[in-house]
Symmetry: C2
């Protein structure tokens, strides 16, 4: 068998983001940890991590991390059956898209954690990168908008996140006093999450408006809604997040215009929604807790999300 002491040193150094912190975590000296990793590399005849531009595993290192995480998951099943073996909590490393993490995810897994003692290690990624992390074995599960699982994994449709084009009433008055027209949309700044966010593009395409169009870039779900509330732009906002912010009234003191009497955000195009389907991907052989989380998400998905366009798909 592999020498798991060496493998553990690799896992902890990368988890903790450095040799010093990794050593502290393991209760070892930094040089002991460094020697373990050197020994691992000597046995394998290849480096397992690179130190610059930042600490990161090599492809071989990633493969080892993948293996170590699978072993951990299997171990935790074993510990669950034989509590006498002792041992710590289960750690589950998952990649979640930013809007899910900012909206339905914490509440949905709250109940799960009442039953299972599990520590989550969450990574915020959008779909392509999330699936790459699945493939690399860097995460045991992910939520993204692609239905196609990577090799060794399964995917399940959870539901759709519903987006509406929203802006503050003050913004509406400034840019859309004569209606939401193509001309006005070419002038009014949108808010875009990042280079991969095409939701605003899809909204504008309905009006025949092509890029380039003026836009702010804001890679934070809460910041995105914050900019809309503050009247800097309009953007496609998850319905649930908007409802929450609307009920909150935090901007009242800043811009107490007559338009704000009812809602802090209003719909540019009432009735128009974009539904983004969300899929849960997980390793096939991920152990009992990952299976239980899958069951939990499939049971609860409907409560938090709009229905998927077609029948639920499982692959």
């Amino acid at each position: 068998m592999l020498d798991y002491k060496l493998l553990e040193a690799l896992v902890v150094v990368l988890d903790q983001g450095g040799f010093e912190r990794g050593a502290r975590h393991l209760g070892l000296t930094q040089s002991a940890v460094s020697q373990r990793i050197k020994l691992l590399e000597a046995r394998l005849g290849q480096p397992v991590l690179v130190r610059s531009p930042r600490l990161a595993p090599t492809p071989l290192g990633r493969r080892l991390l993948n293996h170590a995480q699978q072993v951990r998951l299997l171990e935790s099943d074993l510990l669950g059956e034989m509590p006498a073996l002792g041992g710590g909590e289960q750690r589950l490393r998952l990649a979640i898209n930013a809007d899910s993490l900012a909206t339905w995810w914490p509440e949905a897994i709250g109940r799960f954690c009442e039953h299972y003692r599990v520590l989550f290690e969450l990574v915020v990624e959008d779909q392509e990168v999330a699936l790459k992390r699945m493939r690399d074995g860097d995460v045991a599960g992910c939520i993204c908008d692609s239905p196609t699982p990577v090799q060794g994994a399964r995917s399940h449709g959870l539901g759709s996140m519903r987006y509406r084009a929203l802006a503050s009433p003050a913004f509406m008055a400034r840019y859309f006093a004569d209606g939401v027209t193509p001309e006005a949309l070419r002038q009014a700044p949108a808010i875009v999450f990042g280079p991969d966010d095409r939701l605003q593009h899809r909204f504008l395409a309905r009006y025949g408006v092509e890029p380039p169009f003026p836009h702010h870039l804001c890679p934070s779900s809460e910041g995105f809604v914050g900019l809309a509330l503050a009247g800097l732009g309009y953007g496609m906002v998850p319905e649930r997040q908007a409802e929450r912010e609307l009920s909150e009234g935090r901007l009242q003191e800043i811009d107490p215009g007559p338009h704000l009497a009812d809602g802090r955000l209003v719909d540019l195009s009432p009735g128009y929604v974009i539904d983004v389907p969300l899929y849960w991907h997980h390793w096939r052989q991920g152990g009992r807790i990952l299976d239980a989380l899958t069951d939990h998400l499939l049971r609860l998905g409907d409560a938090w999300l709009a229905p998927l366009p077609g029948p639920k798909r499982q692959r």
Copy 2:
């Protein structure tokens, strides 16, 4: 002078995250854009970008981006004085720490944008990386907790973000029924934003608890509070964000225990706060709009943040 057509191709390809999108943005074919960048590299005798593992500027490319951004800022001053020259909006690229972006930043700049037509391009970074981006010229300003400006920049103290250790009442009942003791803190899962977040460590040090301690990792400000509200762990939460979530009551339907009658989150250690000072860093020669934004932030900082520990520092 430099050939700014070539430089613009570089800027747009990197801004848009690819040759195809960059070309669309400029209204050119992909091969025309590719040729411009090749010509730029041929003239300079060095590559300006690398394509893998992902599209990124070389150090020389970064230097050129820096220069291009400064030229743009100066141009926009010129356009402000001579509107006949026409031209687009000013783009301001800034790095903001996640908690600021999720809390006070959108409201604070909302007013600024009523007066200045500026499009923000925000990058979420914590301090070391943010200052590195300043040094590289990748951003014109940043908010971080270090007072020391990089070369060619200035920094100003804005105020402090005040953090309290908070958890849901259900979590308190589960882990701290017998009080917040070192023994209980060794069992109760914390929530940690990422490897650089030491706030929970500082809180635990007060009780003599050393790492390792059980924790979730959640690199999203809103997700962080969401996990606390859902009873998965405790963590250091910005006071303003907590106030907002407390007034919101979004978890009422999930866990309507008697403890939730008043607040969704309660204080583990009433009266204990950690104040994280925040500094605004900006290029010295950033043009009129950057100067105006600096004035605006200095005037308004006090409204959104707690006072800095010492007198306001400017360097």
